[in-house]
């Protein structure tokens, strides 16, 4: 668990959070509505995310490394390569001599590569949003766009206590590691599977009890600071003219990219 926000004073960081949220969603929609095999369009989308990463000075390496996160899910799309409509046995010299043949479909391969590429670029866009926007600004923007107050309150509190409770979990894990001896190498720590599950469950149960008690203390603290069931609402500033121009230009650019993708893809 690692926060993605990296601070710097770039034009991307300075952009209104609402504009960033809307542009990210429009980007994701237009990218994922682009047909398969629209390779030139994909390259333009990729260059767009990478140039925003450069502009925001978050580091392209950072973005590319983080975006590997969606890779395991690509296993789910892999069967496409072998089950497409035009699948025919692939004659690899070595495999043929062993008597194996794998049906491979060119269409399926194109589809798989398109899905993988689109997913990879989508994750980059989400990383850029989280990496250049403070969580509080993001939450305020979502509230102004229409996220209900109760959610804003729950998510805001959750965010505030995440690191506290995360550290509590780390302390529990450390305590368990120091009490259930494990030999180095291939020997497992602790006793039987049921024993390990019971210990972990006990930790989870105790984490929830501690969190319940903590929420009582949090509530008393909030009361003593004048909490009356309402979250203070941030002022609803209209999006500034400059930001609105950026929003319009961005949407227009993404629409043009999408049309380009429609023309180049199948």
């Amino acid at each position: 668990m690692q926060e993605r926000y990296t601070h710097s004073s770039s034009p991307v960081h300075a952009l209104d959070a609402r504009v960033k949220v809307i542009l990210t969603l429009v980007f994701l929609l237009s990218l994922n509505l682009t047909p398969i095999s629209a390779w030139p369009a994909y390259i333009l989308y990729l260059s767009l995310t990478l140039s925003v990463a450069l502009l925001a000075r978050v580091g392209t390496g950072f973005v590319i490394k983080r975006s590997a996160l969606a890779l395991p899910f690509m296993l789910a799309a892999l069967p496409l390569v072998f089950t497409g409509a035009d699948a025919r046995p692939l004659a690899l010299p070595l495999l043929r001599e062993l008597g194996w043949s794998v049906p491979v479909s060119l269409q399926g391969l194109e589809r798989f590569a398109s899905i993988a590429l689109r997913s990879w670029i989508s994750v980059q866009a989400a990383i850029l949003l989280a990496g250049t926007t403070r969580f509080n600004d993001l939450l305020t923007a979502l509230q102004q766009i229409g996220l209900p107050h109760l959610f804003v309150a729950i998510i805001g509190l959750m965010w505030r206590y995440l690191s506290v409770i995360g550290e509590e979990v780390l302390r529990m894990l450390r305590a368990r590691a120091s009490r259930s001896a494990s030999a180095p190498g291939r020997y497992r720590a602790g006793g039987s599977l049921a024993w390990r599950a019971r210990v972990t469950g006990g930790m989870a149960g105790s984490l929830f009890l501690r969190s319940l008690e903590r929420s009582d203390r949090v509530y008393s603290a909030m009361l003593s600071r004048g909490y009356n069931g309402q979250q203070p609402v941030e002022g609803l500033e209209p999006i500034s003219a400059a930001n609105r121009r950026i929003l319009l230009a961005g949407v227009a650019l993404l629409a043009a990219l999408w049309l380009f993708g429609l023309l180049t893809g199948r």
Binding site: I154, Y161, G166, A197, V199, A204, L209, M222, Y227
Partner: protein, 322 residues
């Protein structure tokens, strides 16, 4: 913030690109409708005290996903938390808490996509909570308050919540044309049948701990929610019946569809723009029919529930007038 043991990558969080835009939008709409109902119920039932409770518990579920134990070799079991949230908070607040958890995972940690968030909320918050609520309350009633019944019901509720959610996840991917149904459904189902055991064991042990320490938390205080019981039961049943059907007979169903000319009718102009919609080769019509069935069930359940509520309110008003 840097917390060293990262939560294990969860094959349940669908990233962007793996659900088509049409499916994403459908599940966004379904999830928003159900979460809106949960919000209204929560506003009515809960006091101001419950806001910090839900916020802190959401953080605990998020952080609690780091709690893991080795199962075999490199694999580990860990907690997703829908079942335990349902048992501790009741179904409606649990839906809100799980929705918050899933949303923050997508927004901040890119664990699951933003377009796919609607589908992820549907799988993990709505299905996860309603299925575990159905299984847990059902088994508690059957086992009638026996002490060991708590652990058994907790285990099965947690296992079922993971398993049924994974079926929904597999069907969404298959409908998007990203993975053939006869591969995606059995693969996701078998992986999550195993992951569910870890979830179930931790949930049962956590419940045993809470039973020993704070028995009062496990009393069924907040009445039963017939709406969720019925809805969750229908969703679970529909997915459990339809998934094997989709994975084993896609060709047969497609043949029938082709004979009747459904395939050509089913593709309207909208779907022509969205190329993802067409599956390569198999099972397009069959899966669309199944999804349509599931959506239909949800819509009908929603309407029936709304009518029942309105009816009850009218009855209450007339009784207070007389």
């Amino acid at each position: 913030m840097l917390l060293s043991p990262a939560p294990a990558p969860q094959p349940m969080h669908i990233p962007d690109g793996f659900v088509s835009v049409s499916i994403s939008i459908i599940f966004w709409i379904i999830s928003i409708l159900i979460v809106a109902v949960a919000l209204r119920r929560a506003r009515r039932q809960l006091g101001e005290r419950d806001v910090p409770l839900m916020g802190v518990l959401a953080a605990a579920i998020f952080a609690g996903q780091m709690l893991n134990f080795t199962v075999l070799g490199g694999t580990s079991g860990h907690l997703l938390g829908a079942a335990i949230a349902t048992i501790l908070l009741g179904p409606w607040p649990a839906i809100l808490v799980m929705t918050s958890v899933v949303s923050v995972q997508a927004l901040l940690f890119q664990d699951g996509g933003l377009l796919a968030l609607g589908a992820n909320i549907f799988n993990m918050a709505i299905i996860g909570v309603s299925v575990s609520y159905v299984v847990f309350t059902g088994l508690r009633r059957v086992l009638n308050g026996r002490a060991w019944g708590l652990g058994v019901s907790g285990f099965l509720a947690a296992w079922a919540s993971i398993f049924v959610a994974s079926l929904a996840c597999a069907l969404q991917i298959a409908l998007s044309g990203v993975s053939p149904a006869n591969v995606a459904v059995p693969a996701m189902a078998s992986i999550h049948a195993l992951i569910g055991i870890g979830e179930g064991l931790i949930t049962a042990a956590a419940l045993a701990f809470i039973y020993a320490a704070r028995r009062d938390l496990l009393q069924p205080a907040q009445g039963s929610s017939p709406g969720i019981l019925i809805g969750g039961g229908i969703i679970a049943l529909a997915l459990a019946v339809l998934s094997p059907l989709a994975s084993s007979h896609p060709d047969g169903l497609e043949w029938v569809a082709e004979q009747k000319g459904f395939l050509s009718q089913a593709r309207s102009a909208v779907y022509q723009i969205i190329p993802d919609y067409s599956l390569p080769g198999i099972s397009n019509a069959a899966l669309s029919t199944i999804l349509a069935g599931v959506i239909g069930v949800v819509v009908v359940f929603g309407i029936a529930y709304g009518i029942a509520r309105a009816d009850r309110r009218a009855a209450k008003e007339s009784s207070s007038e007389s």
